[in-house]
Amino acid sequence: MFPTPIQHASKTRQRLYTVALPVVLFLWLLPLLAIFMTSIRPALDINSGNLFGWPSSFDLIDNYVAVFTQSEALRYFWNSVKVTVPTVIISVSLACLAGYGLAIYRFKLALPLFFLFIAGNFVPFQILMVPVRDLSVRTGLYDTVTGLVLFHAAFQTGFCTLFMRNFIRDLPRELIESARIEGVGELRIFWFLVLPLVRPAIAALSVLIFTFIWNDFFWATVLTQGESSKPITAGIRALNGQFVSQWHLVSAASLMAAVPPILIFFAMQKHFIAGLTLGATKG
C-alpha cells in the first residue's frame, strides 16, 4: 500500500509530521481566523490597536447585526440569491440538453459544435465587456437581476455543456440503443432514462456553478450600478468604502458573504470535489 502509512516511518519523521502538518494548517487558515477575530471585536479594540490580542469583549452578534442594519448588506445578499439560484437552474438544464445532444447523437457537426462550447469556456470575459454592457443598456437589462441571470447563464453554458457532455458520453450506449429499438420516444429516453443516470453530475455541476456565480465579481461590477441589483461581491467593495475605518464591520460583512458557498461546500463536499475533478481532467 502506498503512500506508506506514517506509522511505518521512522520516529523522527513521525514526530516531524505530527508537528509540521498542524502548524502548516494553522498558518494556512490563520487569515480566516484573524478576520473572524476582527469581526467579533468591539470598535474600541480596533481604535486602540488591540487587533490580534484577546478581544476586550465579544461583540459577535452586535457587529453582525450592525452590518445588516447600517448598510445595504441584506439587500446585496438577497440579490446574490436572486441571481445565483435561477442561473444555476437555467445553465444546468440547458447543459443537460445540449450535453445529451452532443454526446449521444452521431452527426457530422457534433465535434465542431463541442469545440465551439470549449472555446466559449476559454474566452476571457474582458473581451465581452464593452459589447455586453452596450447590449444590456440597449435592451434595458442593465442594472437588473434579470440581466445578470441571463448573461451569467449564457457565459456558463460553455463549461456546463462540456461537463455534461463528457459525463453522458461515458454512459453505456447500449442502454439508449435498446430503448430506441423498443420504440421509446427521444424525449422520453432523455427524461426517464438519461436524467436519472446523470443525477450525480447534475449535483456536482450545480454546486460548482453556484460557487462560480455567487463569487463572481467581474459581471457584478460591469452590469450593475445601483443598490437594487448589486450582488454581495460587488457589495463588499462598496462596504469597504462605506466602513472605511471600521474593520470589524468589513470583516463581518466579508465573512457573511463567504458563508453560503462554504456551507454548500461542506454540505456537498463529495459532489464539489467530484465536479472539479471531472471538469478539470476531462476538458
Partner: protein, 417 residues
Amino acid sequence: MGSYRPIIAGNGLAIALTIIFVLPITAVLAYVSTAPLDGWVVQFGTWLHESNGWSFSVFDTQERFAKIGFAIRSIFIAVGISFLYFWLTNWLNQGLARVASKGSWGRESYIIESIQPWIFVGPALVLLLLFLFVPAFSTLSLSFQEADGARTLRNYAFIWDPSALGYTQFRYAMRNSLLWLVLVPTVCISLGLLIAVLADSVRWGIFAKTLIFVPMAISFVGAAVIWRNIFAGGGIQPQEAINGLTPSYQIGLLKMLLGHTASYNEPLYSLKFWGNFFLMWILVWVQTGFAMVIFSAALRGVPEDTIEAAKIDGANPFQMFFRIKLPQIYSTVVVVWTTLVILVLKMFDIPYALSANDDDKLLLATMMENARNNWSVGGDNVENLFAAIAVMLMVTVIPNMVYNARRIRREQKEMGH
C-alpha cells in the same frame, strides 16, 4: 443518404421558424393574460398587511407583493414555454418526417434522428452564439475603429508605440502578467502536489485536505479583504478623526510582525515591485486547494504494481515521487496548469478589490479597467482602446486554447469516438 439532406434542411428550417414565431408570441400572450393575478396577490398582501398591522406603509407592501406575483408568474411561464418548446419541436419533427418519408419507416426515423440533436443543442447554442461569440467579434471590430467608426490601427499603436501614452502601462502589464503566469501556477502546483502527498500519509489527511480546500469556496474579493487584514493597515487614516471617531490604528498581522508602526500605512501589496508577490500569494492561497484535490485524485489512480515494483527495487520516497508517480500523473499536471493559466490571465478581482492599480501592479485585465477610468485622450475612443487591450488579452489565451483543443481531440480519438 445524401438525398435526404434537402428534406432535413427543409424540416429543420420549418421547425426553427415555427419556434421563433410561436414561442415569443405565446410568452407575451401568457404574460398579458395572467396579469390580473398580480392584482390578487397585491390584494392578498394588503389583507395580510392590515390584519397583521405591519408598521411600514401599505404602498411598500403592495409594491413588494406585486413583485412576488410577477416572479411567480415568470417561473410558471418559463417552465411552460420550455415544455411547449419540446412538445412542439417533437411533434413537428415527427409529423414533418412522416409526411416527407412517404411511408418508409427507416427514412422517417433517419430524418427524425438527424434533426433531434439540434433540438437538444439549440437553446444552449443560441445563448452561446448570441452572448459570447457575437460580442467577442464585435470587440474585435471595435478595436480596429475610431470613435466615429472609421477603420484605424491607432488603438494598437497606442499600446505598442513607445511614444504613446499606453506604452508604459502596457509594458508593465505585460511584465506583471508574465510574472503571474509563471509564478502562480508553479507555486500552486508545487504546493498542491506537496500537500496531496503529505496529507495522504496521515490518518486525518482528509480532514487536513478539507481545511486546505476551504479558501476555494471563498470569492476573490472576499479573499482580498481577508488578506488585507494581514497585509495592510497602519491606520488607514491615522492623522484625522473621521465623523468624530478617534483615529484608528488598524494594523495588519504581518505588518505588525514585521515591526511596522501605525504611522507607516503603506500596505505590503503596494510596495514597489515586491507588492506584486503579495497579490499573487492571495491567488495562490485560493487556488492551491484546487490543485491539491485534483492531484490527490490522480495520485490515487497511479497503478499499485508500479509502486510495488519501485519499492522492491529500493526506491526512496523522493525517487518514488519524482521517478514513479509524477511521470504517471503528468497529463493531470498539464491540465491543472492550463486551467490556472486561464484563471491568471483573467485575474482582475484581487488587484481591483484592493485598489492595487498603479502602473507597477497592472495586469492585462486590470489595465483595461484603468483604461476605462483614466484614458480620455486621443479623441473619445476609450472604448476602442479598451477593445484593443481586450483583443491582446484574447491573443494570449489562444495558444492555450489551441493546445487544449488538440489534446481533447487526441483523447477523443484514443477513446474511439
